[in-house]
């Protein structure tokens, strides 16, 4: 699910079909996006706080790519809304909101849906960035952390072509591992993507590897603030294109019993010409 705003994953553009019908969002002024985001934050903030916060339950893109090998608890709902701004080396910057909903459908099984919109959808489609595609996923915990091994989970995403210029249904399969060492945890994610439809120069199979760390910042050992960092390496969506390498850092902080604020930033160290100079993301998540 991660990387919908990034270049190099979830390629929807297929060369940027300019005759494609445009989403209403494309014609909306930026103010409406901002209004949507602010409204979502207000809705999340006024929701009644509930028990058992899951600050450590990492969700991809909240605020950085890395995810932990842990589903949301059985019968828990979690919702998140964020705003992302990407400044690109070619000057064609973009921004937009993202939304997600998670539900613990069974013990050890998380299901969810996510959606992200970005501005300049035609240009971003050409870069391989989707705007408006619906992601549905299931994450299953194979085993929790034990004395000898890390927590392991698998995740399957189906990316439906509901966005601008999208063609074909894509499938993503991710393996996740998490190991705790006192105040910090190490995470490893490996993702395989199979594109449902591709243009002649596009790869139909893509890979992504993520190595990440999170760390409790409190000197008193409180679990209210979490710092995160990761390195992401993924194949270029275009055949023969250079691999994309991204570094990111961020933090999550509890601002209510069930509410977390998160913020993160990242940059592409290597990749094609229009790669991200800096990407900033802020948002809130709420568990019900």
């Amino acid at each position: 699910m991660d990387g919908r705003v990034r270049e190099g994953e979830g390629a929807r553009g297929r060369g940027g079909d300019y005759s494609s019908p445009t989403l209403p969002l494309f014609h909306s002024p930026p103010l409406s996006l901002a209004a949507t985001f602010i409204l979502s934050i207000v809705v999340a903030a006024i929701a009644a706080p509930m028990a058992a916060q899951q600050l450590s339950n990492l969700e991809p893109e909240r605020p950085i790519t890395v995810e932990d090998a842990r589903p949301v608890p059985y019968r828990a709902f979690a919702g998140a809304v964020d705003w992302t701004y990407s400044e690109r080396r070619d000057g064609f910057n973009d921004y937009g909101p993202g939304f997600s909903l998670l539900y613990g459908a069974a013990r050890g099984l998380e299901t969810g849906a996510a959606l992200r919109y970005v501005t300049r959808p035609r240009r971003n489609a050409g870069r391989g960035i989707s705007s408006g595609d619906l992601f549905l996923h299931a994450l299953y915990e194979i085993c929790p952390e034990s004395a000898t091994g890390p927590a392991l989970a698998v995740r399957a995403d189906v990316q439906l072509p509901t966005g601008l210029d999208s063609k074909g249904t894509d499938v993503h399969l991710t393996g996740l591992a998490t190991r705790t060492f006192d105040a910090f945890r190490l995470h490893a994610n490996f993702r395989f993507t199979r594109e449902g439809a591709t243009a002649p120069m596009e790869r139909s199979e893509r890979y992504e590897g993520v190595a990440g760390i999170d760390y409790l910042l409190s000197r008193r050992g409180l679990t209210d603030t979490l710092a995160l960092a990761d390195v992401v390496v993924r194949t270029n969506p275009l055949i023969g294109g250079p691999a994309v390498i991204t570094i990111e850092a961020g933090a999550r902080r509890r601002i209510g019993s069930q509410t977390s604020f998160f913020a993160g930033a990242g940059t592409d160290l290597a990749g094609p010409g229009g790669r991200t100079k800096v990407r900033v993301r802020v948002g809130v998540s709420q568990m019900y």
């Binding site: 009644a48 706080p49 509930m50 028990a51 058992a52 916060q53 899951q54 600050l55 450590s56 589903p71 949301v72 608890p73 059985y74 019968r75 828990a76 613990g104 013990r107 050890g108 099984l109 299931a138 299953y140 915990e141 194979i142 085993c143 929790p144 952390e145 034990s146 004395a147 000898t148 698998v154 995740r155 399957a156 189906v158 074909g168 249904t169 894509d170 499938v171 993503h172 399969l173 705790t180 060492f181 006192d182 105040a183 395989f192 199979r194 594109e195 449902g196 439809a197 139909s204 409790l216 008193r220 050992g221 409180l222 679990t223 209210d224 509890r254 019993s257 069930q258 019900y288």
Partner: protein, 291 residues
Amino acid sequence: MKRLSSAWVPLLLFFAAAAVGSLPEERFPPKGSWTNSTHRFFPDLDARMNAVRYGRWRAVEIAWVSGINGRLDQRFSSYLLSLLADPPRFAPEADRVAPRFAREALPIFRALHWGQVFEQQALDILAASDASPRLNEERLGRIAALYRRERWSLSEPAEPEVSGEAMRAAPASARILLAGTRLFVLAAEDLAAADFGQQRWRVKKTLEDFDRSVAQERSPEQATYHVAAPTVVSRFPVVADQLDLLRRFRAELFEALLPGGETAQARHERDERVRQLARRWGLPVEGIGGR
């Protein structure tokens, strides 16, 4: 179409991996309009309870790794007092406060965690703005039934309670933790025995007493519902019994962890004692065992 078909192969792999097997997870705590009432209406009480919760998990983690002894008692009691002086706003994420215990003694960890959830919810129900004897009985009955349905709930062992050797090994820390347990009991009594208008005055007095006497010596019985919370016991006996069981389970766990696990031999013996504890309390023993 062919491409689309091949795209579903990973999904089949996913379901195959999912079928490999699973360990049951805890469910999300039951929800209701009363959820988080203590945090909303009695933030000072909730903050001190959070400090006690942090202290309990930290104590279990230290005891699991190093055992219980006078050397650690001084440092740990200072940590507890500093937490109580500036108590945290939110409850801890237990598996981050006690990571080794969580992964090396999973059934015990989950029993303690599920017990903490139950305790927190019982207090939230009593602290709810619409609380009434009838509603309390109905809500507490519901969460007690849900608690007992969990695999990680505690069932009473036949044997009587063990001696307080762990308390003698770390007297300063034990006194503070016992005072913390007593705070939960007295707060429940305050909330159960008074209406919404009177609750805050009773809770305020309990907090003042707690702050004054946190390191005072007490017998373990003074931190039980059956001694210190007669209203809770008379109106909600099932809940009082269960919460007293939780206190007893915690005490027995500390007894089992007394020598710690610093050497391979010590870890082996500790693991065996903890397995015995799990068996006695009707918990699974799979997943208990250090490196």
